[in-house]
Amino acid sequence: MDNLNDNAAASPVSEPRKQKKKKVLLMGKSGSGKSSMRSIIFSNYVAKDTRRLGATIDVDLSSVKFLGNLTLNLWDCGGQDAFMENYLSQQRQHVFSNVGVLIYVFDIESRDLERDLHTYRSIIAALGQYSPNSSVYILVHKMDLVVPSQREDIYNERVAVIREKSDDFVPVPFATSIWDQSLYKAWAEIIHDLVPNLDQIEQHLGDLGKLIMAEEVLLFERSSFLVVSSWCSEIGALNPTSDRFERFSNIIKNFKQTTSRYTGTPKSAEQFALMELKLINFSLFVIKFTTNTYLAVILPPGEERFNLAMENCYIARKNFEDLDSPARKSADRGATSASTEA
């Protein structure tokens, strides 16, 4: 975070207002699926609802509260050529200054790759000029439209071409589709990189996990149900399902749609306080943890173990509350967690 602030000061523009929030730019060709993915991740849409979305006109600004002290200042930029030209000319400084993250969406089905790459290059050039320290993520989207056997080859080939055009930036690529959990994987990692005190959270989570002898501990963000942080034991790491976080997010999110229909409360509202599952081969609970998070714990079977672990998690809750408290200002982020113990 610090070096990003430096960068804002070093950029050619002098910001008149005091410290502005870093932007997250969401860009890509028109119709590539930017607004669809934004709605799914942050507005609790299901994939088929996105058919209702129209074209984004100009820039759609939204700030997404995340983990209390992290607000994403999300700029969903309409991708039609006229807008693109506008961003690159009149609004160049306005759009590309003070950018923390650029998420660029490529449509795998695109007919005119040359043109896409050309636009991408211009965007990268503008970004290099105003926010040279920002990070770049590439989402190769609509992967579901490609025959499964060819997915990997086509994806690798596409990523190699894009990498060449990225100047000094080192883009992190993802293959995504709104129809499966790959979208969650990409966004969870992007968010993961943005959370400032993540290593502390992760460390505490690990301590907690060891203490209660869990197989796996996951920390979810409340509204998007993305995995913010996770810890797994040596045994938990042997789990053959490698995309389990994304699938878990997806399952819970789908169920939230049902509960919201049942209770008549809005989808964004908190839907459940506790879920427990005891089976002969494992047990699991998901509890409302801090204001902005849910905690999922996967344990070996056993009633006593289960109850003890749950009790311990409720005790640990207070300490985690400090790590994620909306009251704390970004200034003393580093100091807040020093006093906490798991």
Binding site: T263, P301, G302
Partner: protein, 400 residues
């Protein structure tokens, strides 16, 4: 050990949840071996009937695999949605993929192995089975129910005429005991008023026609259905319930449990098809059915992720000090149990596995979480009762 669906979660092997069943071709298909099934009950009933009145004996169906299982016949005009219904309900095909189903050219026989074994016969719409060249007994003998599918978004007069002639034919050929279920299908997208109008119209036309032929009070039931929501599952639940001879006892047990534990609604689900085979006597409301059936999905899906086989040395570590107990003895209940507490009104929803195929799912009254231990105890007793009923209904066969 963990063989039930709830524990292993192996239902869909494809990650994107798309249709992964075998191609819909060929004759009878086996899904898994069954323990508790209606085959025995049916055989037993058949034997009883035979003893009382040898003339009325139901003939076993032809073919080894088809013998002794109650049969659901899906009939109706072509393109009314019969194959879509059986694919969605019995093969977990996503509804929007049924668009690509081809027209059924010959009778599709599917065998379901679940809490009870039954067969689903999907008939081609264009063939008239009342033609004397068909062996009526092979089709209608030993039938559980005849499901007649009517496309509500199409001209249905012709369909009703055919249904009427089928019913009259069945009456005259001595199959009058068959339950006739009319699915007024594809009602998604129609307004509620319009749906009821259609239902009234269809009912009227059928009853009038039948009473003109001197056949009053035909045993016909009507259901409004669509594959795009849970209504089709509900309709099937009602159809299947009629085939369960010990249903009143199951219902009585559930009623008792609901009353004592403060449940708003309890369902006994078949986990695989998500058809409920019994429920308590309070009226069924769609939302509670939906949430209960989706909750089963959550558990099956989560189990699929975390229900992998742990290494043996880890298990022995868990069974060692300080516990010094077998894992089976460490758990409070050997079957799957789960509950989720909704924020709204702190309303718990509980799920308890009954046996390999069945699960009890209930919506509990608001704020009852603090009474959870009592509730769990009540549920345990109820599940014990349910299992006993199944055991009793199974036993005579082994003696015979």
């Amino acid at each position: 050990m963990p063989e039930s669906l709830l524990e292993t979660g192996r239902r869909r092997t494809k990650l994107d949840r798309s249709y992964n069943g075998p191609p819909r071709q060929g004759p009878v298909r086996h899904i898994s071996p069954a323990q508790l099934n209606l085959e025995r009950i049916h055989e037993q009933n058949r034997a009883n009937v035979q003893r009382v009145d040898p003339a009325k004996a139901l003939a076993p169906a032809p073919g080894a695999a088809a013998r002794g299982k109650p049969r659901l016949l899906l009939m109706g005009q072509r393109r009314s949605g019969k194959s879509s219904i059986s694919s969605v309900v019995f093969h977990k095909m996503p509804p929007n993929e049924t668009l690509f189903l081809e027209s059924t050219a010959r009778i599709q026989k599917d065998s379901m192995h679940s809490f009870m074994d039954f067969q689903v016969w999907d008939f081609p719409g264009q063939v008239d089975f009342m033609d004397p060249s068909f062996d009526l007994d092979a089709i209608f003998g030993e039938i559980g129910a005849l499901i007649w599918v009517i496309d509500a978004q199409d001209e249905y007069v012709e369909a009703i005429n055919r249904l009427n002639s089928t019913i009259l034919n069945l009456q005259s050929s001595g199959y009058s005991a068959i339950n006739i279920e009319v699915f007024i299908h594809k009602v998604d997208g129609l307004s509620d008023d319009y749906k009821l109008d259609i239902q009234r119209d269809v009912t009227q036309r059928i009853q009038d026609e039948l009473s003109d032929h001197g056949f009053e009070n035909a045993p016909i039931n009507f259901h409004l259905t669509s594959i795009y929501n849970h209504s089709i599952f509900e309709a099937f639940s009602k159809v299947i319930q009629k085939l369960i001879p010990h249903l009143p006892y199951l219902e009585a047990l559930l009623n008792n449990c609901c009353q004592k534990s403060g449940f708003e609604k309890a369902y006994l689900f078949d986990v695989l098809s998500k058809i409920y085979i019994a429920t308590d006597s309070s009226p069924v409301d769609m939302p509670s059915y939906e949430i209960c059936s989706d909750y089963i999905d959550v558990i099956v899906d989560v189990s699929e992720i975390y229900g992998w086989n742990r290494p043996a040395e880890y298990i022995s570590f868990l069974e060692g000090a300080p516990w010094n107990k077998k894992l089976e003895d460490q758990v409070a209940c050997k079957d799957a149990e789960s509950c989720i507490v909704l924020t709204d009104g702190r309303r718990p929803i509980i799920l308890r596995e009954v046996n390999k195929y069945l699960a009890l799912v209930a919506v509990v009254r608001e704020g009852a979480y603090s009474k959870m231990p009592d509730i769990i105890e009540n549920v345990n007793v109820t599940v014990g009762g349910l299992l006993e009923i199944f055991e009793i209904t199974r036993r005579p066969k082994t003696r015979a």
